[in-house]
């Protein structure tokens, strides 16, 4: 294994493009090192992105959006004074990952690129409409976060492509988001179901909504039928019931020791309801 510390994303991309064997990028290493130590994946080239200038920055953009460096750890997001005020759902999703120790290292981009359908950081990013900047042999392009995962452990990134930034849109007025997951314990477990909701209100009426489910299909899934159940409503009982039904209908989960198909499907509906209520209260400024 060769360990590289490129000074720029262009150089990181060049190393990855010319590598002949297995390549991994190293952000927080909380997936890469586990896979390395358990002999699941031993990269021939390991490219540490943490020496590239700017990767530790959380910066508000001119349009009110956010640019998050690819090496920003979960704890740094949680400690940020303003990010969580705009996007509490994104911050709480990231904050659920692992222990204090894991939070000191794990990154959102690593969570995304590891490609787990149960990744806790990703649903709220998709619900927010976030994108990543991808630097590759042919320059840089922006890709929606929703389009990055293509299956368990798989992403659409091509050989030589590295994510160089995470872009979160401006929060705007009267918006709120939330992320909830169910695990059998209270800490340190893999989501049985995760659900993110992001919405906007005009008065009491929901005008925009995105609902994203995790761990119930091969990839994290944005469910338009759930959004449709919310838009135009005041989140009354009928809307919640329709949301619940649409969430259950969108599930194609696995059956394993953490949860049966039936249980995961049921929990998806329950979490969708609960996350929608939190996001709604946040959009109306009634809850932080």
């Amino acid at each position: 294994m060769q360990y590289h510390t490129p000074p720029s994303f262009e150089e990181a991309s060049r190393i990855a493009a010319s590598a002949s064997g297995t390549t991994r990028f190293l952000a927080g290493g909380t997936d890469v090192l586990v896979q390395l130590r358990s002999d699941l994946v031993t990269p021939d080239d390991l490219i540490d992105v943490k020496h590239i200038p700017g990767v530790k920055e959380i910066a508000r953009q001119e349009d009110g959006g956010w640019r998050i460096g690819v090496a920003v750890a979960g704890a740094e997001m949680t400690e940020h004074p303003d990010l969580g005020r705009d996007w509490p759902g994104i911050v709480e999703g990231m904050d659920l990952i692992g222990s204090t120790q894991i939070q000191g290292r794990a990154t959102l981009v690593g969570n995304l690129c590891n490609g787990s359908p149960a990744a806790d950081g990703v649903p709220a990013l998709v619900a927010a409409g976030a994108s990543v900047t991808v630097t590759g042999p042919n320059g840089a392009r922006d890709v929606a976060v929703a389009d990055i995962p293509t299956g368990p452990g798989k992403t659409c990134l091509e050989k030589g492509e590295v994510i160089s930034a995470l872009n979160i849109p401006a929060r705007g007025e009267n918006g709120g988001d939330a992320y909830l997951r169910f695990i059998p314990r209270t800490e340190m477990d893999i989501a049985v179901v995760g659900c993110a909701v992001n919405l906007r209100v005009d008065g009491d009426t929901i005008t925009e909504a995105r609902v994203v489910l995790g761990a119930v299909a091969p990839t994290i899934r944005a469910v338009q039928a759930c959004a449709d159940a919310l838009i135009g409503t005041t989140l009354d009982d009928a809307a919640l019931e329709a949301l619940d039904k649409a969430a259950r209908a969108a599930c194609e989960p696995i059956d394993d020791k953490r949860g049966t198909v039936e249980f995961r499907t049921d929990v998806a509906g329950v979490l969708a309801r609960r996350a929608a209520k939190i996001a709604y209260a946040r959009a109306k400024g009634e809850q932080s």
Binding site: M1, Q2, Y3, L26, G28, G29, T30, L33, V34, L36, R37, S38, T42, L46, D48, K50, A73, A75, G98, S99, T100, Q101, I102, G104, R105, T186, E187, M188
Partner: protein
């Protein structure tokens, strides 16, 4: 395989070592620097027995490469007692019998110290969540929590 030369600070002292690219910081502390306080319980980030701080952040040293420590400041359990005087947390662990086999103890002490530096007056719930990544198979945790809360109270009085 070519070895990597690393210069880093451990408990305030400049140190250097040569490591394989795949060796973890935990391996380097234990095998190259003879600092065997940090333990390997799982090697996969689950147990916290290998906890150290790197540039002030609590991390699992089993999930950091030795090479990544270049230019960093590492703090381990070996730096906790000062001039032979035990840290209040260490004293309270003895007083409350907060350990049995002791494998988890260095990691828990390092983790608890890092919380108290950030928040000198944590609630028990905050403390339990902070330490959720530190597993103990012996004590049942209660004595650990009591020892840490007691140490925190003593440290607040002393400051």
């Amino acid at each position: 395989m070519s070895k990597i030369h690393v210069t880093t600070k451990v408990n305030g002292d400049e140190v250097e070592y040569l490591c394989e690219p795949r060796e973890t910081l935990l391996d380097c502390l234990r095998d190259h620097l003879d600092l065997t306080g940090a333990k390997e319980g799982c090697g996969t980030g689950d147990c916290g027995a290998c906890s150290v701080t790197m540039d002030g952040r609590l991390v699992c040293s089993c999930l950091v490469l030795g090479a990544e420590a270049q230019g960093k400041e590492i703090a381990t359990i070996e730096g906790m007692a000062e001039d032979g005087a035990l840290h209040p947390l260490q004293r309270k662990f003895i007083e409350h019998a907060a350990l049995q086999c002791g494998i988890c103890t260095p990691g828990i002490l390092v983790a608890a110290k890092s919380l108290l530096e950030k928040n000198p007056d944590p609630t028990e719930t905050e403390m339990r969540y902070w330490l959720a990544g530190n597993l103990c198979r012996c004590t049942g945790y209660d004595k650990i929590i009591r020892a840490v809360m007691d140490a925190a109270a003593e440290m607040r009085e002393a400051s």
